[in-house]
C-alpha cells in the first residue's frame, strides 16, 4: 500500500475548504488573514504532490513563489489592519462597511 497523487489532492482540497469556510464564516479581520494563509498552504501541498508524482520541479518553484507572496501579503495586510484599527477601533468586518449596496 502506497500513497497516490489523489490522496494528496484530497487532503489539499479538505484543507482548502477549511480555509474557505473560514473566509465565508468569520467576521473578524484577523481570522480572514489566518484563513487566507490556510488556503495558500493547501495549494502548496497540491503543488508539491504534483511535482513529486510527475517528476517535475515546476510545482515546487510555484510553491516557493507562493510562499514569497504570502509573506509580502502579511506585511502589507497587517499594516493596513493596524491603520484600520487606529481609525475605527475595531477589527470587525461589518464596521468597515461604508458603502450602501
Amino acid at each position: 500500500m502506497s500513497l497516490a497523487l489523489n490522496d494528496y489532492l484530497i487532503l489539499s482540497t479538505i484543507i482548502f475548504v477549511i480555509g474557505l469556510i473560514g473566509v465565508i464564516r468569520r467576521k473578524n479581520l484577523l481570522m480572514l488573514f489566518f484563513s487566507t494563509e490556510i488556503m495558500l498552504n493547501a495549494v502548496n501541498i497540491g503543488l508539491a504532490a504534483i511535482s513529486k508524482f510527475h517528476g517535475d520541479l515546476t510545482g515546487q518553484m510555484f510553491a516557493f513563489f507562493i510562499v514569497a507572496i504570502a509573506a509580502s501579503e502579511v506585511a502589507v495586510g497587517l499594516g493596513l489592519l493596524i491603520l484600520l484599527y487606529k481609525r475605527k477601533g475595531s477589527i470587525n468586518l461589518d464596521s468597515i462597511v461604508s458603502m450602501k449596496g
Binding site: D7, M31, K52, H54, I69, L80, L81
Partner: protein, 192 residues
Amino acid sequence: MFEVVAFYLFAFLTIAMFSITVMTNNALYALSSLAAGMIFISAFFFILDADFLGVVQIVVYTGAVMALYAFGMMFFDSMAEVEEKIASPRLKFFLSGMIALIVVIIFVAPIIGENALKGLYPIHLEYGNAQDVGLVLFTKYIVPFEVAAVMLLVAMIGGIILAGKKMDTNLTLLSEEAIDELEKTHDVKDKK
C-alpha cells in the same frame, strides 16, 4: 508503509489544527493552532521529497509570518469578542454550491490530466533536492526570483509606512502629565 502512517497522522493533525483556527473565538488559540498546523504541513513536504520547501515552510511561516502576526496582535485588543452575525443565507447557499462544484472539478482534474506532458524540469534524484531546486531557480526562474525580491522589498517598505505612523511618541519616556495630555487629545479625536 511508514510513509502511509506518517501521511495519515499528519493529515489528521493538520485538519484538526486548522479546524481549531477557523472555529475558535479566541485569537490566541487561533494563532497558536495556525502555527502548529504550518509545522505539520511541512511534514508533507518532507514526505514528498521536497526537503528545501519543507525547511522554507518552517522558517518563513513559523519564523517570520507568525512572529509578524503576534507582533500585530499587540496593537489591537485581540481578546475582544467580535460579534459575528451572518446575514443572507441565500448567498451562503450559493457559495456553498460553488465550493461543491470546485471540489468536483478538483477531483476530476487528475483523471483528465492523466497523460499530461512529462517533466519540463525533471527531478534529478542523484543531486539532492536543495541543489536541484537551486539549479532550476537560479537559471530558469531567475527573473521571477528577482521580481519576488523586489516585491518583498516593496511590501516591507509599505508595511513600515502603513504601521509606523505616529509611532515616534514613546510612552515610557514621557512624564505623567504629558501622557494625560496625549490621552485627552486621543479621546477627543475618537469621539469625533
